[in-house]
Symmetry: C2
Subunit: 114 residues, 2 copies
């Protein structure tokens, strides 16, 4: 996430950030910056997670017991806080996915063109 030249501006569908982060954490424990990069890359730079959204979200996930964290070292040798998804977090992720799917089907039903 370049500070001066963000990739592409995108209004993230609100309410999906937690789901995206939790999903990313199922792959492996990762630090915040890497999580954001992963989401941006997989989404082909459509989604961009700003720091002001990312770190509060990670705080939130921990407060709810869906993730834990501890300091570690990044592959480039810098200190970084590594986040791990909890069992409760996996359960929550499942809930969010099915809720998302359900709502998506509903929206598509309304938007369906003849």
């Amino acid at each position: 996430m370049a500070p001066s030249s963000g990739p592409s501006k995108s209004e993230l569908l609100k309410g999906t950030l937690d789901m995206l982060i939790l999903q990313t954490l199922t792959l492996q424990p990762q630090h915040g910056y890497a999580i954001a990069q992963h989401i941006e890359k997989l989404s082909d730079d459509v989604l961009s997670i700003e720091q002001g959204s990312l770190y509060p979200a990670l705080e939130r996930l921990q407060k709810k017991g869906w993730a834990t964290s501890k300091w570690g070292e990044s592959p480039t040798g810098r200190k970084a806080r590594y986040y791990t998804i909890t069992a409760s977090g996996r359960k929550q992720l499942g809930k969010e996915i099915s809720s998302f799917d359900r709502v998506l089907v509903a929206i598509q039903a309304v938007m369906k063109r003849a």
Copy 2:
């Protein structure tokens, strides 16, 4: 929308309400209450538009020039404010749909399970 016995708990992907309303208005000019009912019905009661979301949203659409309104009479003979989508509103709807599709593809790319 029964005041004492709401149908189902409301779930709405934030940021999609304007799109859903505009889409509904492409069918025909309608009053607010009917718009909400239409969306709820087509979504099989998954989406429910609360009054506190509906009327501010309709205000918003008018302020942006995406809809106009005038008082009329509902099929049941009550006074009701009828909303009509404008040309600018149709253009906006198109934008919102392609943005939604784009973001949806992006989210699904991130959520894709191996």
